[in-house]
């Protein structure tokens, strides 16, 4: 069984059709890249998977482990192993990253019927991951993302991903606004999490990120549907030829 199956998905936002019969199957342990021009529906796909309000599914199904997740609240989807790394991570003044992570982790565990994590185990886990990502203790004590640079915010997303150990990670334009050094740190963090039981959907406009997070499958999204699927070489081809031909093909 595929970890994620998106079947014939139609989505509207404010009465505008954004996704138009999208089909996507992601197997366990694989990395799928979704590329496409602006306005093709990339971020909409990410938000619909995570369960954001105001995105109206008019047709289709989204299955995680064969279960329909469209009926679940966002927090239930997270507990089931779905993680969305935000394109624009938000600042939460007054909520320390540590508190945030711990609340999230224990809420997920509770939802799954597991016991809370012990304080030493939690601290150990966070420190381990934070060290690898170059996130210092002071940043963990501060309000989530408050005063962080763009790169620090993205690293903090990867930190959360690593600590929460989801099975399906959706990265929404994680490369946007990152310089090459920050991009490498983030990509390394992601590569470190690659595992036989964990899959990734990497949404990006540019091929650059895929030099560092090498995908198994590349999809081209245009006007709300996947118009082409190929291997990692498809990303290079897109880099050379641009998206113009796909916009015509979908029209």
């Amino acid at each position: 069984m595929h970890l994620l199956e998106v079947k014939h998905l139609h989505v509207e936002v404010d009465g505008n059709k954004i996704l138009n019969g999208l089909e996507l199957s992601v197997g366990k342990g694989s990395v799928h890249a979704i590329m496409g021009p602006n306005g093709s529906g990339k971020s909409t796909l990410a938000h619909v998977l995570a369960g954001k309000q105001d995105y109206v599914v008019t047709q289709g199904e989204v299955l995680l482990d064969g279960d329909d997740i469209l009926v679940l609240d966002p927090h239930e989807r997270a507990a089931k192993g779905l993680f969305l790394a935000f394109q624009y991570p938000l600042e939460i003044p007054g909520v320390a990253t540590m508190t945030f992570l711990r609340t999230a982790m224990n809420a997920q565990r509770k939802q799954r019927g597991e016991p809370e994590i012990s304080t030493p185990d939690f601290l150990k886990r966070v420190r381990q991951v934070a060290g690898k990502l170059g996130i210092d203790q002071d940043m963990l004590r501060r309000g989530v993302n408050v005063g962080f640079s763009g790169g620090e915010k993205k690293r903090n997303e990867i930190l959360q991903m690593a600590v929460l150990e989801p099975r399906l990670c959706v990265l929404d334009e994680t490369d946007s606004g990152l310089d090459i050094d920050a991009l490498k740190v983030v990509a390394e963090g992601v590569n470190h999490l690659r595992a036989p039981e964990r899959s990734f959907v990497v949404i990006t406009h540019y091929q650059r990120l895929l030099n560092y997070i090498v995908p198994d499958v590349v999809h081209v999204l245009s006007k709300g549907r996947i118009v082409r699927t190929g291997g990692k070489e498809l990303a290079l081809e897109l880099e050379a030829s641009g998206y113009a031909q796909y916009q015509d093909a979908a029209a």
């Binding site: 609240d73 927090h75 997270a78 993680f83 938000l90 003044p93 609340t103 999230a104």
Partner: protein, 436 residues
């Protein structure tokens, strides 16, 4: 021909006259106090209860909000003292010298009067009134406010505290006002606290117990030069709770005021703070949490008389149900108060469609070399932030609680005492738990 239209007396106004006539001879105090009371009562009688056409009381119309005036609460008997003790309100999570007032009277046997630090004097206000040594009453920051006039007319008890110059109190003083009994009554508390030059004191005041009482409490606080004073007032109960702080702060002092309100049906906290000496640094902050049909009004008048003082005001309110929150904050900078640096912020978080917030910041500046600013916001919880938290696995109610705690926490951070910060954040957590 002009005629002044004066509405007929409300039931509460008539009752207050009856109560005053009955009590004027039995209220504590020598003849000197009697004339103070008479004058104050005349001030009240001239205008009656404050109402919406009086600008300062526009949003808290006592003619409407006070349908009746309860009789003065009787002196607490043994049963009342026991109820107060059992109410469990006696203990704060911090180590403090407790002074306990039950149903409006000081109760020495429940209070901690042992081993007073040298330079610390504590007397009950009733004893002070009886002694006739009342020269300071009404003089710290004079006001013709009607609530203060009523307080002066009826003041029954309270505390007089004097901290001698350069004395640093080793632990906070906690004034605990507990009202007991299901029938309630009216309580008028008056306190007078002087913190001498260069002295250090932390004062905590909490109002707890029955929700059937009408409380009018007033504190005159004289903070002398170079003193360092924290005052934290916690309001957790009351049918009607009207409180006035009149504080005069001397030169080079540090003054930290915090108002925390999580209970009480109708609450009015008014603060008149005067910076009378140069170079003082002050924080005046507060947080309130309201639900159901609660009405909480915070009215602040900060007056910079002397120059070179810095004041920071931050008030946060969290409003649920059909509750009303009011913040009126006025900063006055007198002509000689050059180099004043004053910033006031007030933020309201509305958790329901029927809750209402009124924010009225005002600046009156008569000096030309000052930095003054104010900001006011009101709104709901940020939906994008809530989604971010939910996407991490945190359910809606927990996500809301986290954001509300963070919102209130920003103001509570202004309290220097860590144990007290924890106590108040505990109150916030309890309020949130009840909300679910």
């Amino acid at each position: 021909m002009s005629t002044e239209v004066r509405a007929s007396k409300t039931d509460a106004e008539s009752a207050l006259e009856t109560h005053f006539a009955a009590a004027r001879h039995s209220l504590p105090g020598a003849p000197a106090v009697a004339s103070l009371r008479e004058n104050a009562f005349r001030r009240f009688a001239a205008d009656g209860l404050p109402h919406r056409r009086i600008e300062e009381w526009k949003y808290t119309d006592l003619r409407a909000l006070m349908p009746a005036a309860k009789p003065l609460a009787p002196l607490p008997d043994g049963a009342a003292k026991l109820r107060a003790k059992e109410a469990g309100a006696m203990h704060l999570a911090i180590d403090a010298r407790r002074l306990v007032f039950v149903d409006g009277s000081f109760v020495p046997e429940l209070s901690d009067l042992a081993a007073l630090e040298g330079g610390l004097t504590i007397r009950s206000m009733a004893a002070l009134l009886v002694s006739g040594d009342v020269g300071k009453i009404g003089r710290i920051v004079p006001t013709d406010d009607i609530a203060v006039a009523l307080n002066t007319a009826f003041m029954g008890d309270g505390v007089m505290i004097d901290v001698a110059p350069r004395v640093a109190l080793s632990r906070p003083i906690h004034l605990i006002f507990v009202n007991t009994g299901e029938h309630g009554g009216a309580v008028f508390m008056r306190s007078l606290i002087t913190i001498g030059n260069g002295a250090r004191a932390m004062l905590v005041e909490s109002h707890e117990g029955s929700d059937e009482f009408q409380v009018n409490t007033a504190l005159e606080l004289d903070v002398r030069a170079n003193a360092h004073v924290d005052h934290v007032k916690i309001t957790r109960a009351g049918a009607l709770h009207v409180s006035t702080l009149m504080a005069c702060v001397g030169a080079q002092a540090r003054f930290n005021e915090f108002l925390f309100t999580a209970g009480g049906a109708v609450v009015r906290n008014q603060l008149f703070v005067r910076f009378a000496g140069e170079g003082t640094v002050a924080g005046i902050r507060g947080a309130c949490l309201t639900k159901h049909r609660q009405h909480v009004d915070t009215t602040l008048v900060v007056e910079h008389v002397a120059g070179g003082c810095t004041s920071r005001e931050m008030f946060k309110s969290v409003l649920d149900g059909e509750s009303h929150g009011i913040f009126q904050g006025k900063i006055i900078v007198r002509p000689h108060a050059q180099k004043t640096d004053a910033k006031m912020a007030t933020h309201a978080l509305l958790l329901s469609d029927s809750a209402e917030a009124a924010n009225k910041p005002e600046l009156e500046i008569f000096a030309d070399d000052v930095q003054c600013g104010h900001g006011a916001t009101s709104g709901a919880l940020n939906a994008e932030l809530l989604f971010y938290l939910k996407a991490r696995g945190i359910p809606q109610n927990e996500a809301e609680a986290l954001l509300i705690q963070a919102f209130v926490g920003e103001a509570v951070e202004g309290i220097e005492h860590a144990g007290l910060r924890d106590t108040l954040m505990g109150d916030v957590a309890a309020w949130l738990a009840e909300r679910k």
